[in-house]
């Protein structure tokens, strides 16, 4: 496989090896995970499509044209139209922005909350640890979807009045999904902290007079992040599914914000004569979630220190 030119090109690297760092090693291992690389590519295409797509595909998301209603894919409407004759490609590109944004935002909330609680629990120990872990156990045994539905049901109207229909629903859904998914991260971070806080380098920092906050933020946390990154990537997928589920049940975003789940909700009653309307957004959700799951798998292989010996 290696021809002469490539050998010459790799030689200087072999002579003066790059400084190996944790992240460079991780990146190298990640690159070797073929499915994770495919997942990254697919996800990047999706992100570029929803960010730049609406600029390139100029059909409006809400132009009603009854003559074109429920048409399958054609040249003028590559993904077909819905029951009001609105262009599905335009709606999916626009709705995809919301779906992906909900996933990322909810993940950030879940991770920040989980890291804070796990760090406090693991660093302080004692009664704080005990209380926070009982709280974590409690939240782990709450069935998330029914509670999610209950909260959306109770607070939706009030938030709509306070900050407008789109922002209100967005904030509510993101906060609630993120607020019900922090527990695994908290457990992971706590476990890392329990072992890291006894390590020599932390003791050294403590001996040099680093205050607790500095010990946590500068010394322990960076070393505890690997499992959090893996959990975070999978949380994006879980949050996207949670938002789609809410929208699919008709309790997520309103009809004028066509997230992928909402499109499925609207499409499910005409499944027998307009299957394309359900299949395209469903496939979009599936591909996104599958890509993220493979990326998470690749990240786990790349970041799990137990794997270092094996490769």
């Amino acid at each position: 496989m290696v021809d002469g030119d490539a050998l010459v090109e790799t030689l200087p690297v072999a002579v003066a090896p790059q400084r190996a760092s944790l992240w460079r090693d991780a990146l190298r291992r990640f690159r070797r995970h073929r499915l994770a690389m495919i997942g990254t590519t697919v996800l990047l295409v999706m992100v570029v499509a929803v960010v730049a797509g609406p600029l390139a595909w100029r059909l409006p998301v809400n132009e009603i044209d009854f003559k074109q209603k429920l048409k399958g894919p054609t040249w003028s409407h590559p993904l077909g139209t819905d029951d009001l004759g609105q262009d599905l490609l335009a709606r999916m590109l626009y709705g995809g922005r919301i779906s992906l944004a909900v996933g990322v935002a909810a993940m950030l909330i879940a991770i920040s909350l989980g890291t804070a609680i796990g760090a406090a629990s693991g660093y302080m120990g004692g009664a704080v640890d005990h209380t926070l872990m009982r709280l974590t156990d409690l939240f782990l045994s709450i069935p998330a979807l029914p509670l999610l539905l209950l909260i959306v049901y109770l607070f939706r109207d009030a938030l709509k009045k306070a900050v407008g229909p789109e922002a209100g629903v967005f904030v509510l859904i993101v906060v609630v999904i993120g607020g019900l998914r922090w527990m695994p991260v908290a457990r992971l971070v706590r476990a890392q902290f329990l072992s890291l806080r006894e390590k020599e380098f932390v003791e050294a920092a403590r001996g040099l007079g680093a205050p607790p906050l500095r010990q946590v933020v500068r010394h322990i946390l960076p070393n505890a992040m690997a499992p959090v990154i893996v959990a975070g990537s999978l949380d994006v997928a879980a949050a996207i599914i949670a938002e789609s589920t809410l929208s699919f049940l008709g309790l997520g975003f309103p009809p004028d914000i066509p997230t992928w789940g909402r499109l499925l909700f609207d499409a499910k009653d005409t499944l027998d004569f307009a299957p394309h309307w359900a299949i395209f957004p469903g496939t979009a959700i599936f591909l996104t979630v599958l890509s993220i799951n493979y990326i998470g798998d690749g990240l786990r292989d790349a970041l799990d220190p137990r794997k270092v010996l094996a490769r």
Binding site: L140, I142, A144, A158, F248, G250, N293
Partner: protein, 319 residues
Amino acid sequence: MSRYLLRRALISIPVLLGISVVLFTVLSLAPGDPFEELATNPNVPAEVRQNLRVKFGLDDPLPVRYARWVTSMLRGDWGFSFVSRINVDTLILQRLPVTLVVLGAAQLLAILVAVPIGTYSALRPYSLFDQLATTFAFIGFSLPTFFTGLLFILLFSIYLDWLPFIYRADISATGWRWYWEHIRQAIMPVAVLGLFQAAAMTRFMRAAVLDVIRLDYVNTARAKGLPEKTTLVKHVVRNALIPVVTLVALQIPNVFGGALVTEQIFRVPGIGSLLISSILANDTPVVMAVTFVYAALVVVSNLTADLLYGWLDPRISYR
């Protein structure tokens, strides 16, 4: 064993209380007034509304209201459904068996699929079978239940016309035909839910068997001449199931979420679709009660997991 179970059951009481506190806090933080409609009705004087508020204790301090709510729930007084015009507990008892049957069947299907496939995958890691199983597992848990449900309806009900896609509680046939119709309409919901769980369970099972199979006692079992089948079933799979039970128990709240969606897609008359219809109809007593029943079901399944745990690893129950 019974003392161990009793201990676990006692631990679940604070969990249930905690969940009820969370639910009640959510409800009391929520804006809105049950007598809002009376306020806009010009025929109802303000005093009447105020008297009603006092009569139902809406202005009492929060802990008092919580205590009253919990005691009435404990006594079995779950309120009255404004929409269905019957007591909430009667309504839930009508719907609960269907949910439990569908969930139980799905769980059984998941175990029947996941345990053999996961074990076989781990026995031949990176073989063609393992790679296929891994791929299908990834696809399985990346496909949300609502999309799988729609795809199943599209394929089996619309194109092939094999199965009905609406679940009916009132089937008029009698005898064997009655059973057959019930099984036929349950196939799709059970398959959607069961395969979704099987996907994650296969991964857990594979990882657990891979961990166990290299251990010395497995070598010992083989060396002393036990047949491979006995080694596998009695020594490998039994011990591999211990971590799997933990992971599956952690997944249970998600499973109820999936069940809720599945019920809604196939219009299974269980508590999940009851929850959705009550939310859409603003039927607060039913919404609260169903959410609480879900929480109770999670606690019961965790207890079942503990029971399985004690059976799989007898050391646990003596601790």
